[in-house]
């Protein structure tokens, strides 16, 4: 087996010629670094130290920055992986649906531990949310999503991989809609349970752009403002205002970026929008280009959605040949705009706009301080408007049918509809496009989860709410959400959910600022104490203080929201945080002497004076 796998795969180190060729193909610019390294990773199963040196030399980038780049992104590795990489999604909805069993089935079938590669070249690893929470447990086999896994299915998958070694052949039943498109051919399902009137309505191609170009850019922005559109990624910044700033900023080049890096656990709406309504997204981006005076658009597509890339490229090509992208769009002289796809490589923090821009620039996706805001100083220092996939769809719809038609839905402060990704303990997980302002009650009725104990609104960075809050409304000034809705049934252990989210943030913290890097670790430690039944009142208080410090002092949104699972569950479910009584002698309950000396006992062959210690001299 080993011999065949070696003959099948090229060596870990690329040759100089090969590196030069790869760089030439993508263009020898820093912004191409991601695609260059992804190509090398794909061909050689790693970006070896040797490869890093060659890339650094040919591209004129300090080697340490190439190395930093490789170590930052989880889809790049310095150590060689197998030619098949299985990434099992370890997210809360997956854990609720048997992730542990599925993972051990994979361990058994592949015959290695997590993080290892089998002799015949299959690497097994886990990953954060891959945007398939409604069909969990799920995994990626190279680029190919495999969904609704069971232990049986896992064994069949690994057996099949061993016989044909082609992940694409794992797809026998195609998903619905465009998942069956020849360029997608995926088993992923849309689960479009409730298509709403705006985002998922039929598209009349080109109409939004034609309507936009009939009026001035300022008028387009005025219409977007009149529609009271706010960003759909979660933060809810008024889009028209953002565009006005970007338009007003000085700069020869301006950029429109579409944030398709939805990494918030439990979110998968952008996947379905990109699968079913890519034209509407690109149309919205083109309108944005017209409005702010940009000629270049970038879709930052998360690595987990690589399987959609060829299809999206084909949609872009079609738009070019239809005169909806490129030069003199819709026959309007001087209106040039084109869109390219920039791949991510597995980093949650890149969903934050400044980190996303850094990633596009060929750097590790570490967030920057704001101001300056991207509207002034964004991609390559140029004015840039970064908006969510769904926001661009709203733009297209506003231009297609006017602000008034858009405003018919929603509430005064939250106009339009919201696409929700619902997962967890409900009968009908999937995509729901609902008007802003519906209550959680209504939502739970729609998805078949009337008996829910809690809902995580807006993913881990949002808030955990219980039945007393189910009358509240989904909108920006009550319960805002980027779309993730994870439902927990009556028997769920919520503390384990909070812990899972804490683990997620500890893993995804970029490590730049202390409150987030250290805070995420401290939160884990206190939660471990709590789960072990060793947390005293002072531990709970420290946990609360740590979480609050993170909220106010972290550098970016990741850190300031990483504490939300703890803070919101403390507020709504205080019973989860019941402390143990203090020790009568004021010893700390969390200090576990037998555990602390266990290693020394093993090494020395002696036993602890434990009893003696417990009793003391003056008992």
């Amino acid at each position: 087996m080993t011999a065949t796998s070696e003959s099948r795969s090229p060596s870990v180190d690329p040759t100089l010629e090969e590196v030069v060729e790869t760089i030439d193909r993508h263009g020898n610019e820093r912004t191409s670094l991601m695609h260059v390294l992804r190509d090398i990773q794909e061909r050689h199963r790693c970006v070896s130290p040797g490869a890093q040196s060659l890339v650094a030399e040919v591209m004129g980038i300090p080697r340490v920055e190439v190395e930093g780049f490789v170590s930052f992104y989880s889809f790049l590795s310095e150590e060689p992986w197998g030619d098949i990489v299985i990434r099992v999604c370890d997210d809360v909805p997956d854990r609720m649906r048997g992730f542990e069993r599925v993972l051990s089935a994979f361990r058994e079938a592949v015959g290695v531990e997590v993080g290892r590669t089998s002799a015949d070249g299959i690497t097994l690893t886990t990953t954060a949310s891959i945007g398939l929470s409604d069909q969990a447990p799920a995994a990626l086999v190279n680029d190919v999503p495999v969904t609704e896994l069971s232990t049986d299915k896992v064994h069949r998958i690994v057996e099949a991989l061993r016989s044909h070694r082609d992940p694409k052949k794992l797809v026998t039943l195609l998903g619905d809609g465009n998942n069956a498109h020849p360029l997608v051919r995926s088993m992923v399902k849309n689960n479009l349970m409730h298509p709403g009137p705006l985002i998922f309505s039929p598209v009349s191609r080109g109409q939004a752009i034609r309507r936009a170009t009939r009026v001035s850019p300022a008028e387009v922005i005025r219409q977007v403002k009149a529609a009271r559109l706010r960003g759909r990624g979660g933060a809810g910044f008024p889009t028209g205002m953002k565009w006005e700033f970007t338009r007003a900023s000085l700069g020869e080049r301006k950029f429109v970026i579409c944030n398709a890096d939805e990494g918030e656990p439990g979110t998968f709406k952008d996947r379905v929008i990109l699968t079913e309504r890519p034209d509407r997204v690109f149309s919205g981006m083109t309108v944005a280009g017209y409005a702010i005076g940009a000629q270049e658009g970038i879709v930052y597509l998360r690595a987990e959605y690589q399987y959609l890339r060829a299809y999206l490229e084909a949609v872009l090509a079609q738009r070019r040949s239809d005169g909806l992208l490129g030069r003199d769009i819709v026959g309007r002289p001087g209106f040039h705009f084109d869109i390219r796809i920039q791949m991510g490589a597995g980093a949650y923090v890149c969903g934050e706009e400044t980190a996303l821009i850094r990633s596009c620039e060929g750097r590790a996706g570490e967030p920057l301080n704001r101001p300056p805001f991207p509207a002034e100083h964004g991609f390559l220092g140029c004015p840039t408007s970064v908006n969510n996939v769904e926001t661009y769809c709203c733009i297209a719809k506003i231009l297609e049918e006017g602000a008034a038609a858009f405003n018919e839905y929603g509430t005064p402060e939250s106009a339009g509809t919201k696409v929700l990704s619902i997962s967890g303990d409900c009968l009908k997980p999937g995509i729901y496009e609902v008007a802003f302002g519906i209550t959680l009650h209504t939502m739970l009725e729609m998805c078949g989860a009337e008996d829910a104990r809690a809902v995580q609104v807006g993913g881990p960075s949002g808030s955990l709410v219980g039945p007393t809050d189910f009358h509240r409304r989904i909108c920006f000034n009550d319960l805002p959400t980027g779309g993730s809705m994870i439902v927990f049934g009556p028997d769920r252990d919520l503390l384990s959910v909070v812990y899972a989210f804490a683990e997620f943030f500890a893993d995804e913290s970029c490590g730049y600022c202390t409150p987030c890097r250290v805070g995420t670790q401290l939160i884990l430690r206190y939660l471990e104490r709590l789960r072990a039944g060793r947390a005293e009142a002072s531990d709970i208080e420290e946990l609360r203080r740590t979480a609050r410090t993170m909220k106010t002092t972290s550098r970016c949104g990741l850190g300031s929201t990483a504490c939300n699972p703890v803070l919101t569950s403390m507020e709504r479910f205080p019973e989860l945080y019941a402390p143990v009584d203090d020790h009568p002698d004021a010893y700390r309950r969390s200090f576990d002497l037998p555990r602390a000396v266990a290693e020394a006992e093993r090494l020395s062959g002696r036993t602890s004076r434990g009893e003696h210690v417990e009793q003391g001299y003056h008992a």
Binding site: S538, D582, D585, A586, Y587, R588, S590, F591, L593, R595, A596, V597, A598, E599, A600, E601, L603, S604, G605, R606, S608, R609, G610, H612, V613, G616, Y617, H618
Partner: protein, 181 residues
């Protein structure tokens, strides 16, 4: 006024904080009017003889004897002060916390470049207290009322804090005394 009883000890520390206590110099005479020393390296009393008002702890806990001592202090003192950075957060000894214990011992007694140990044995006498898996700051082992940062805290800091505590008021430590950069 009855004199308050004080006990002090050095756990996984370097005795530098105790040297800093001695640095209060002639004020020791004034201190002697205010307090009576129980267990302390200063008078070499080995165990606390009766209940104390204040316990002063230098160093964190690196072995089980440290835990014993700290717990003895906790049981027998009304108030505990963690004196200096090791007591407060583990300090220099805690640098080993990210290295497995076995690797630490091998480096210290066998593999380190300056080690001269032909037998290659790692000390393992029954009298030697077992090491903990890592070095713990005092407040992770018992409740601690007050923390005085510094490596070491200056004599002035110690004096000001102690007098304030003895007089039952809040210590008003000027910025210069607690600034360390």
């Amino acid at each position: 006024m009855t004199r308050k009883r004080i006990a002090t000890t050095s756990l996984a520390g370097c005795f530098g904080c105790h040297m800093s206590i001695l640095d209060i110099d002639e004020r020791f005479l004034a201190l002697a009017d205010l307090v009576e020393f129980d267990r302390s390296p200063i008078d070499d009393i080995k165990h606390i003889s009766r209940r104390c008002d204040i316990g002063i702890i230098e160093g964190g806990c690196c072995n089980e004897e440290n835990v014993e001592t700290l717990r003895e202090f906790r049981r027998n003192c009304n108030v505990l002060i963690a004196l200096g950075d090791c007591a407060t957060m583990g300090g220099i000894p805690a640098l080993r916390n990210n290295i497995p214990l076995e690797q630490c011992l091998l480096e210290a007694y066998r593999d380190g470049p300056s080690v001269q140990n032909p037998s290659g044995l790692i000390p393992n006498h029954p009298e030697l207290p077992l090491l903990l898996d890592k070095v713990y700051p005092c407040h992770e082992v018992v409740r601690i009322e007050y923390f005085l940062p510094g490596c070491p805290p200056s004599a002035e800091t110690i004096w000001q804090a102690l007098v304030a505590l003895l007089e039952g008021r809040q210590a008003d430590l000027p910025y210069e005394l607690i600034k360390y950069d």
